[in-house]
C-alpha cells in the first residue's frame, strides 16, 4: 500500500535558507531601532528649543544613566523591580487563568461571581495597595499581592472569554481516548487558550509594571519606583527619565527576546499565509 497521488499534502513547507531567515529575523528589529532613533532626535530638538532643568535633553539623561549604572544603583533597582513584576505577573496569570476558565466553563458559577469580577475590576489600584499595606504590613508579600489583585480581574475577563470558545469536540476525543488530567491541560486546554493567554500577558505586563512603581513609591525602600520618588523630591528630572527609560528598555528587550519567540513557538502549527 502506498500513498496516493490525489490526496497529497496541500503545501509542503518550503525549506528556508539560513540567510533569508536571518534577514527576516533582523528586519523588525531594524525598524524598531530606526523608529526609536527618530523619537530621540525629536526629543533633542525640543529640549534645544526650550532649555530648562525640568526638561533635559537625551544627552543629559544618558550622562545620568551612565553615572547610575557605574555606581551599580541602576542595576540593583532595576533588578528589584523586575523581580516584583515577574512575581506579580506569575501570581496574577495563574490565579486569574484558573478563575477565568472556571467561570467560562460553568455558566451558573459565572452568573454568581460576575458581580464580584466587575467590583474588583473597578476598585482603583491605589485603594488595593493602601489596604494591602494596612492589613498585611509594609512587606514584600503585601506589595506583590496588591499588584496581583489589581491584575487578576483583567486576566479573569480575558480567560473567561477564552474558555467560552473551547471546542467541545477535542474534549470528547480526549474522553474517548482516556487522556490523563495533565495531558488534557497540556495538549487540549492550553493550546486552545494560547491566544487569550498571550493577550492577557501582553496587557498584563504593561499594567503590572506601572502598578509596581506605585507600590514601591508608597511602601518599599528600593526599586525603580522608590528611586523615582527620591529624585522627585530632589527635583532631578534627568534621573527620573533615566530610570524610566532604563526600565522601558528592559521591558522592550523582554518583549523581543522572550515574549515574541515564545509566541512564535506556540503558534508554529498555524499555516503561514503563502
Amino acid at each position: 500500500m502506498t500513498a496516493s497521488e490525489t490526496d497529497g499534502t496541500r503545501d509542503a513547507p518550503p525549506s528556508m535558507s539560513g540567510r533569508r531567515s536571518l534577514a527576516t529575523a533582523l528586519a523588525p528589529a531594524l525598524t524598531v531601532a530606526v523608529s526609536l532613533l527618530g523619537l530621540c532626535l525629536l526629543w533633542n530638538l525640543a529640549a534645544g528649543v526650550w532649555p530648562s532643568r525640568a526638561f533635559p535633553g537625551p544627552g543629559q539623561v544618558w550622562q545620568v544613566l551612565l553615572r547610575e549604572a557605574a555606581s551599580g544603583d541602576l542595576l540593583y533597582h532595576l533588578g528589584v523591580t523586575l523581580g516584583r513584576v515577574a512575581a506579580a505577573y506569575i501570581v496574577a496569570m495563574i490565579i486569574g487563568s484558573v478563575i477565568g476558565v472556571l467561570l467560562g466553563s460553568y455558566r451558573r458559577v459565572d452568573r454568581f461571581f460576575n458581580p464580584w469580577v466587575i467590583l474588583f475590576l473597578n476598585i482603583p489600584a491605589l485603594v488595593v495597595i493602601v489596604l494591602g499595606y494596612i492589613w498585611f504590613g509594609l512587606n514584600e508579600a503585601a506589595a506583590i499581592g496588591a499588584v496581583a489583585v489589581n491584575k487578576i480581574p483583567n486576566v479573569v475577563v480575558t480567560m473567561r472569554e477564552g474558555a467560552r470558545t473551547l471546542d467541545p469536540s477535542y474534549a470528547e476525543m480526549a474522553t474517548v481516548y482516556r487522556f490523563g488530567r495533565l495531558d488534557r491541560i497540556r495538549h487540549i486546554l492550553l493550546p486552545q487558550l494560547q491566544p487569550h493567554l498571550a493577550a492577557a500577558s501582553r496587557s498584563g505586563i504593561a499594567l503590572i509594571w506601572k502598578i509596581v512603581l506605585v507600590v514601591e513609591l508608597l511602601g518599599r525602600s528600593n526599586g525603580v519606583g522608590f528611586q523615582i520618588h527620591l529624585y522627585f523630591q530632589l527635583f532631578d528630572v534627568a534621573a527620573i527619565l533615566a530610570y524610566t527609560l532604563a526600565f522601558v528598555a528592559v521591558m522592550l528587550v523582554i518583549e523581543l527576546l522572550l515574549v515574541q519567540p515564545v509566541e512564535r513557538h506556540a503558534t508554529r502549527w498555524r499555516r503561514r499565509p503563502a
Binding site: M1, T2, A3, S4, T6, D7, G8, T9, R10, D11, A12, P13, S169, Y170, E172, M173, T175, V176, Y177, R178, F179, G180, D183, H187, I188, P191, Q194, W269, R270, R271
Partner: protein, 246 residues
Amino acid sequence: MQPVGAVVPLKVDIAEKTFRSARGVSITALQDLSFEVRQGEFACLLGPSGCGKTTTLRILLGLDKDFSGSFQLPQGGSNRIAAVFQEPTLLPWRTVEQNVRLALPKSLRAKNLDGLFDTLGLAAMRSLYPAELSLGLARRAALARAFATEPAVLFLDEPFVSLDEQTAERLRHLLLTVWSARPTTALMVTHNLREALMLSDRIIVLAPRPTHVLGVFDVRLPRQHRNSQVMSDLLRSFHHRFPDVT
C-alpha cells in the same frame, strides 16, 4: 495481556433517549433500540440521515449519559475503546505522529508505529501539522490514531463523508487492510448502503425516529470475494428484504 478471543459481544439495549429542546418540547430520538455485535465482527448501523445513528454512537462512547437502558462493551485484551469521528478531530497544534501517540496509554507511548504509518501511506507525513494535510490524509491520520491504540472495540461515525468517491473508496480499502491485520469488534455508522455491503459482516438497519432496529442483514461472504457482480447481487437481496430502505 489476555487472549483476544474472550467472547463478550457488544450488546446494546437502549430503552429510550429523549432530547429536550430549548422551548421544553421533548423529542424521542431512540426507543427500544437493541442489537448485538459479535466478537471480532465488523458491523454497520445503516439508516437515513438524522435518524439517531450518531446519538447511538455518542451513548456507546460514553459521551452522552442521559438515557435509559444499558449497553455492554466487548472486554478482553485491552478494554480501550477507539473512535473515528465524522471530522478527523486531530489536534491542530500537534504533529500527525504526536496526535497518534497522545491517544496511546502511557505503556504504549513509545511503541513502533512504522508499520501502521506505512500501511496508511502516512510515513512521509508524520511530522506535518494537520493543517498541512488534505482532508483525505487527515482522515487516514484519524484511522491511524484509532488502530494504534489496539482497542477492544472501534466506533466509526461516517468516517468517509465529504470526500470525493475515489478518495473514499481508497480509504475504505485502507480501512479493510488495517482492520484485517487485527480484526477488532467494530461498529460503523453510515447512510451509504454500498459502503455497508462492502465493509461489514452484519448490517443493522435502523428505522427513522424514534429510532429502532428494522432488521439485521448478515453478509456471510468473505470480503475479498465481494466483486462488482457479487455486490449487485447483495444489493438486490438487500432491497428484497428491506424494500423501503434506499
